[in-house]
Amino acid sequence: MSSSTTCPFGTRRTRRWIPWLSVAVPSLGWLVFGLYPSLATVYYSFTTYSGLPGTPMTFCGLCNYRDMFTSNYSQLSQAVVTTLEYVGGVTVLQIGLGLGLALLLQRRRFGYGLYRALIFMPQVFSVTIVGVLFSLLLDPSSGPAEAVYHSVIGGYSSFLGDSNLAIWLIVLVNVWMFSGYTMLVYIAGLRRIPPEVYEAASLDGAGAIRRFWKITWPLLAPSTTVNVFLTVMGSLGEYALILVLTQGQYHTQTLGMFMFNTAFGVNPDLGLGSMLAMVQFVLTAVIGGVLLWALRRREVSL
């Protein structure tokens, strides 16, 4: 940069203050409503505080951590397991479905724009709309899923009320909602692969399946990195959808849901909730870090 890195605007006197003035208001807002709450979570997690007006906030050291890792440990470990099931299920299915849809719809052909738009559409709806929609479809007494289940498999299922099934159904709803996004990222990736590569491979006699594994999949590595990272991080923090569908009942209490129910449920406990937010933070940081490292390594090696 050859040109000056000082602000050229204003008079000699105001010049020095203009940049500071410019960032002052947004930074202040960010400090008060962004940074402070984030850091305060750490302090809150060392306190007992119901959040109800007139109740005190008392510092209690590691009390929340001690409680959670001893007497309530089974609840915590269950939440972590549920979270991992949820994240794993969503990631595998959404990457698979997103890639499949992208391979199907990558070309510029008649009608494909509409198909892509329809697949992307659920994403613009609020979790409330999607949650209500699937509560209707999966209603155990009057939904179409019940009718299909009864006639195909036989017997009855309570779907979202079934502790073995509920979390996986929510996984499917999440995939339904967001696979359009994964698809679009993959389509952008597919279109960046030069067609000559495929032509050369065809001349060498490589079949469609070989071409996919030897060319498409390795060359899509950057798109896969973005998709896997976004999907894992997004589903790790997800609880709004679960809130609408089951409110965390029937073994669907992920860490986020547990945090929300603890902090804002019937017996609100902001201290304990913040402690769970800290657990969530550590889990996210560890998984995110490992993931970025692994995906990078994979990109290089391919």
Binding site: V32, F125, S135, D139, G143
Partner: protein, 314 residues
């Protein structure tokens, strides 16, 4: 002469050789396969992604007794009464206005504040601009601050009031990551020329920089609008007075209140979904291109997940 030969003579197209016939057959097979693919694409996109919504729409036209008699069939008779009932019982009119307010005001303010924050940093006017940038990015990886934000809102008197909610959502200062990179593509010479001509800083940002950033701002604004409109958690925590609720919160409450009255709930859901569906239909191209063009950075800022911004930047 047989009739087929006559027909062939009368036709304008030349008689085909075997090679041409083979080519035609290949073309036909390809055409058939193409229409097969078309059919598959249509079946997947319409059947898996649109049909659930059509099903929901159909339920909204059923009377409650007929729903009970035949829950999965077509409406018989068709009725519009669910829509009027849902509209009056759910107070969705007020909630739409609230939603619009909660989506537009933070969206516009975030954009403007984001540009004012990003501009000096991307121009490198501070001694440690890069460090500052890194710090803002890093802060996105800190623990979620939802719970202390709730406590803070109560202490500052922002809890359960409209202005308070707008302040909370407008000042979180996102969007900025996306802008820093974009502003770098606007030549510095423009700043210097404008300053030489005596253009003031604020006027410069509003009349030169903001218009230059139109494509970026448009994408960001759309994603931001959708994200704010759809937010359920924040209104759930911050607004207890039902007259202040946005539609997403309102529908959530309505759903809880009328649990098994599916035709009524379906009608309410259709009412709530309609505006965003219209927005989607109109701006669909922008949204789709936004994702492909890395606008993930933009949406991530509003959705409080700057991690995504970083991932997409790489």
């Amino acid at each position: 002469m047989t009739t087929t030969q006559t027909a062939r003579l009368l036709r304008d197209t030349p008689v085909r050789t075997d090679a041409q016939r083979a080519a035609r057959r290949r073309w036909l097979i390809r055409g058939l396969r193409l229409s097969g693919v078309q059919l598959l694409c249509f079946a997947v996109s319409a059947g898996l992604f649109a049909l659930p919504l059509v099903y929901l729409l159909l339920q909204a036209f059923k009377t409650y007794p007929s729903f009970l008699k035949d829950p999965t069939g077509l409406p018989h008779p068709w009725t519009l009464s669910n829509f009027s009932a849902a509209w009056s019982q759910g107070d969705f009119g007020t909630e739409m206005v609230n939603s619009l307010l909660y989506a537009v005001v933070p969206d516009v303010l975030t954009l403007i504040l984001g540009v004012f924050l990003a501009f000096p940093i991307s121009r490198g006017w501070f001694r440690r601009s890069n460090l500052l940038y890194g710090f803002f990015v890093f802060s996105g990886f800190l623990p979620a601050g939802l719970i202390p934000l709730f406590g803070e809102a109560q202490k500052l008197g922002l809890y359960d009031n409209q202005v308070g909610y707008l302040i909370l959502t407008s000042l979180t200062g996102a969007g900025f990551f996306f802008f820093v990179g974009y502003i770098k593509t606007i030549p510095r010479e423009l700043d210097e020329a404008a300053a030489m001509d005596g253009c003031g800083y604020f006027r410069f940002v509003f009349t030169i920089i903001l218009p230059q950033m139109k494509p970026a701002l448009a994408t960001f604004a759309i994603f931001g609008f959708v994200a704010s409109w759809n937010n359920l958690i924040l209104p759930l925590i911050m607004l207890s007075d039902s007259t202040l609720w946005p539609v997403t919160r309102g529908l959530y409450g309505f759903f809880g209140e009328h649990t098994t009255q599916w035709p009524l709930i379906a009608a309410a859901t259709v009412i709530v979904a309609a505006p965003i569906l219209v927005v989607f239909a109109v701006l669909q191209r922008h949204l789709v291109e936004g994702v492909a063009g890395g606008a993930a950075t933009g949406s991530a800022g509003v959705g409080n997940a700057p991690a995504a911004a970083v991932a997409a930047e790489e």
